[in-house]
Symmetry: D2
């Protein structure tokens, strides 16, 4: 079979992980059952570029149960769980191309392997596969019905492509589903970023100054959890509305240059580049810890940090010590890559459940409606969004109210007043 | 002069209140200065139907300084601060028609007084003035350039009118400005609802079960502050997405019928009617306290409560005791009207600052662009929204970052990837 | 009858207040029932110096039902609720000497009136009655079996007396009961201090810098609630252990001189004097708001503030504006007296319930054991403390676990190990 | 040399860990410097039974720098970090007897090895070494000047020994130092317990029902952090005072039998045995996760769980799946041992810093005063406690206030009143 994983012998261990994640994915499980019964994706060729994790294993299984032919490559060289990749290759018979720590050349070779599948549907997380398809693999574009994109960063890139008129097929921004970004980005990134930092460092957060650059959904998730762990959180923002929300939420807000000399821990979650640079490193305290939880490892200017350092060494598994020429030490976590994936296990399955239910149902939607959609970035249909929320609540045993006829009427009327 | 206030002798006291509120309205103050200098509203006839409070006094002053001719009537019979009304009549020379506790007939007579002004611009809070204008005063519609609407409830009513094709002029939904609903509804309603309940009852919130019906912006503000006061908060919702957010925010979520027998305090903030009805009162605990913080006093079915009671008496200034036939007592606060206005002082000036800055700048915008706008409900232009946020941050001494050219370019590009 | 209240005609209104408070005092209610049945205090002469509030009305009723002859005077000139005083005089036939706003001479005249009763038991809140008794009324000391003291400040004074060997009878420090200081000081003072500040000012707390001087039980209550309201809280402390707890609880900690130039609102809760003085006023921002929630009005050096001011005026009911010579305005709340009593209604009944249950049961204990106790400050017997906690839980419908025999044995054994 | 570690080749890796922990132990570092300079423990024989972790490595180094001859054995078979043990053996020349996962026989053999040292001072964590010394090694008792005990459980056992008159030498309860139990137990156990659960399971805590049995310092730390992570926390207690605090802190409180059917995650932190037993397992939901963070693995009745199961397997590194006969699965973490040590890295160094500073200074104190102390459990002298707090604040860059002479005088006086 056609796959490239680190060690196929890890498959049994990987299967346990997929099974464990599956326990916490009740919405995707109900979709699996329906797909297995109805085979709505029969014969559909799908190329997926996603974090190769145990939750993704469950999504892959759902698509296969639906009848699709799927190939999978990693969307981030550091996030691959090698045993999970092996399990997908062995037990799901899935062509998977992903090795943790692979170099950039291998990373793109793997993307090309996935594209060799001549996909009708693409699944992407960060838009690297879509970018490759639109640049070096353009002949394949004609087969594509549509695609999905998982993350904020990818959506930003794809909107930019659409705005410039170069996007060749419709994309559903799974990230923009409420059941995705309101949950995955906030609760998922929030908890797992803290988790990654703790696994990497084992520091006590209570009492520390914890700087969060970016107060988008991810940033406020991280801020909320850092505060919940007893840290004194400082927010850095460029958007005045978000900055004002942060102030009202009880956080200190200041320019990152001011925060640089106060923070004990720094996390970047902006989706932009060069957030922490030379001028910030110069002001940091001895022992400052810096990490990134934004999609790409460009938020921290690592080259600049290296240029200031006289010595660099690994002091814990995910901690690099940079000793600056003035003797101060700065600790970079996970090589500046997504810390929740590098040092922890990414988003918990419980929250990926909804993201991936959106993926599965969006693939179904594209397979039926893709040809009728404009070559733009579309939202997930609201019906899908609400259905997923209802399924999730039910799985947690939570019941909610329904509007009475009288209440519905009232909301639609304008005659009734004071 | 033409006005109807309770007692003009309250004016000096009212002026102190307006001045006090003004201290906390730095954004509106900067607009006042600009308006006074440039007189951009010279001669414009404005009819405003707003809560007659000290903050509104500052908005009225801003419009007058801009050169407008303004009339003011109350948007809620219980929210009028009589001394503030007197101060506006006396010191601002403003025709104001508002008496705290006025009956329904007087309420609508006052609205008609405001409409006799033949307004070119309307300001509304709940859409009662607009409704009256569109039903019993239709001849006046021809003069109107546009209007603003302050609150969620009003926006719902106006969208319903627009959807039915009966809205006769463009409305700017001030409520939909981010600097309004993200702040006023959440932080303003949140704090002031709790404040109203405490002033009415002096109960200790710590350890109580506090039920919030509705998890919109107002509802989450109330929930956040009740939790911050040590209560165990239960959320009731009809929207599965909001319900799921409430769950993830750490709240218990359940149907209101289940919450009815658990709650010690109930607050309705749904914008809908008949939220607490007979079947809920029947299940409530001895001593349950119920209040409303939604716009209209229809959320609690007071008639139903009265029909269950054998006796009713006032036991504190804003507390009516309903003694049910089985001996249980239920305490209704503020006659089911907005508790933050009835028993406390409404939103703090610090947050009304932004709402009213939006009002003032939206009036200016309508005076210039009203004739070119469709007869629909429009958002506040984003530029206004951001400008207000920047002014507010500056007034609080908060500085924020700006994107570098490199960062702007990165966000617009799609080539750069992993 | 022998009493001095402002207006006896307020009695019916006061009775409603006492009744309302009584609703939230289930533990005291169960003691009332027992006292009424058993009359254990028959003929005992009690002089009480307490805040004359609706909750105290319930305590007085309990003591009278128990058979005692009680006199009551105010422990703070500003905290008296005049209608409640009238109700006690009229309906409880209680000699009560208390008028809100009475001057210092009247205050001490009233204390002497209470002492004229030749008490066998004293109840005190701040130790003014005990001090008077030990200085100007020494001949009365011979009758006294014992006394109780309600508050931290009083306990500090009494321990100082005991240490110097001048305390003439045993005192039970009700304040030291866990069911008192862990609840009343933390949850009661916490909520009601915020409540008082909001009633006095109607400011929005979210986003403000809120400085709390003192991180004792009261201070941490205030800090917790200010944080819960969205403020950024700064703690000032002299005790390194408490300061460290504040740091770990996620608060900024700094010397008060540093906080002076940052704070928007300041609250003193130290139990000491001269906490905010000239050097702090000099550094404060325009518009700073200062309040005290410690027992005596000595924490803010008001004379120093006045000496810096060129003008002073009352701008709201409980707000004095001090205009300094450089034009800055500082706002002093409630004349520097306990803000929760001055501008709000003191501790909610729900928490006073436990304090006053401790008072009632401590009086009973002193009436039986007073003569056998050393002339020192004693704690409330642990049995009383636990009994009150159990009654309170039961009244809230909360059930808890009990140790099994096996578990009890395990805790007592030391043989069982790893 | 005399030691028993898993693999001496792990030493370089272990040294990095000790060094990393040392970065976060500024108070202990200042003691190290002083000890190195003054050698106050020259020749003192110490036997220590502590968790063999990187923080302990720093304590051992401090004692050696002070001149002591130290032997170390593990206080818990699962908590040993093998590479750290190797580093202590190799670089500190320390006789260390500890292998992660050692069986019970080895565990006690190692304790005896440590006792063969004929200690003058003992350091214990859970009192297993002291128990062994008092039962099977009584002849050694005559040499012992005194000992220290680190944890609540050990202190309970030792007080029980003292009460029965069998304690043969004075013990300083390091656990009772404020700088220990207020910090280590609350912030340390709180964060690291959550950390252990997340590393073991990778579940999302937001929205879950999280049951904490025990609301002592550890329990409230765990509860606080679980709430801070978005969980709905339920507290089970036997002490009515603590239960009432939990209620007022905003938690649901109920008997553990009621909580059993609601909880998604259970953590025991009571210091007692048989907290979760057969009757609770029978009521638990499918998929319930159970963990212990109390000292001994007796809080969860694992034998009872096994007796209900038809199948048991390891599904993740620290997760055992028990499949009950009715098909429900219950997941036991870390074999019921301290989850923060089993699945995470125990208390962060930042908090162990203070615990171990207390250890080091208590050893010094015992070496000087041991012979004069009663054979009881003693507290850490308050001076030591305060000194540590001051050093810690300084290391965090936090400055605090000092009482003025006037303020000191006021606190000592009782004359000044209202």
């Amino acid at each position: 079979m056609n796959y490239d994983v680190k060690d196929i012998k890890g498959a049994p261990q990987g299967r346990l992980k997929i099974e464990w994640a599956g326990r916490f994915m009740p919405v995707l499980n109900s979709i699996k059952k329906k797909f297995a019964r109805e085979k709505p994706l029969r014969g559909l060729r799908i190329s997926a570029c996603l974090h190769v994790t145990s939750e993704t294993g469950n999504l892959m299984e759902a698509l296969k149960l639906g009848g699709a032919e799927v190939r999978l490559t990693a969307s981030n060289p550091l996030s691959t769980q090698d045993d999970v990749a092996a399990a997908m290759a062995k037990y799901l018979q899935l062509p998977v191309f992903a090795i943790k720590g692979e170099d950039n050349a291998t990373y793109y070779r793997h993307i090309n392997k996935a594209l060799d599948h001549h996909p009708q549907i693409t699944l992407d997380d960060g838009a690297d596969l879509v970018s490759t398809l639109h640049s070096r693999r353009r002949p394949l574009l004609k087969n594509v019905l549509g695609g999905t994109e998982e993350t904020t960063t990818g959506v930003i890139r794809l909107r930019s492509m659409a705005a410039k008129g170069v996007l060749a097929y419709p994309i559903i921004a799974v990230n923009d589903a409420k059941t995705k970004h309101l949950f995955d980005n906030r609760y998922g990134t929030g908890q797992s970023t803290i988790d990654g930092i703790l696994r990497a460092t084992n520091i006590l957060l209570a009492g520390l100054h914890f700087v969060v650059a970016g107060y988008g959904w991810c940033g406020r998730g991280v801020a909320m959890r850092a505060k919940g762990a007893g840290a004194k959180v400082i927010i850095c923002e460029v958007d005045p509305l978000r900055a004002l929300e942060a102030v009202m939420d009880g956080f200190e807000v200041m320019p990152i240059e001011s925060a640089a000399s106060i923070g004990d821990v720094f996390v970047t979650v902006t989706g932009d580049k060069a957030v922490l640079t030379k001028k910030h490193f110069r002001r940091m305290k001895e022992g400052a810890i810096i990490a990134n939880s934004g999609h790409f490892n460009v938020e921290i200017d690592i080259a600049a940090l290296a240029s200031l350092a006289k010595r660099k060494r690994r002091v814990r598994e995910f901690v690099e010590e940079y000793e600056l020429r003035d003797g101060r030490k700065i600790f970079l976590l996970g090589e500046g890559r997504l810390i929740n994936l590098a040092a922890a296990e990414g988003h918990p399955a419980m929250v990926m459940d909804m993201s991936f239910a959106n993926q599965a149902l969006s693939v179904l939607y594209l397979s039926m409606k893709g040809q009728t959609l404009a070559k733009e970035v579309h939202g997930v249909p609201q019906k899908i969004d609400e259905q997923i929320a209802r399924l999730k609540l039910r799985s947690m045993g939570v019941r909610i109210d329904r509007l009475t006829a009288e209440q519905k009427h009232y909301l639609e009327a304008w005659e009734e007043g004071t």
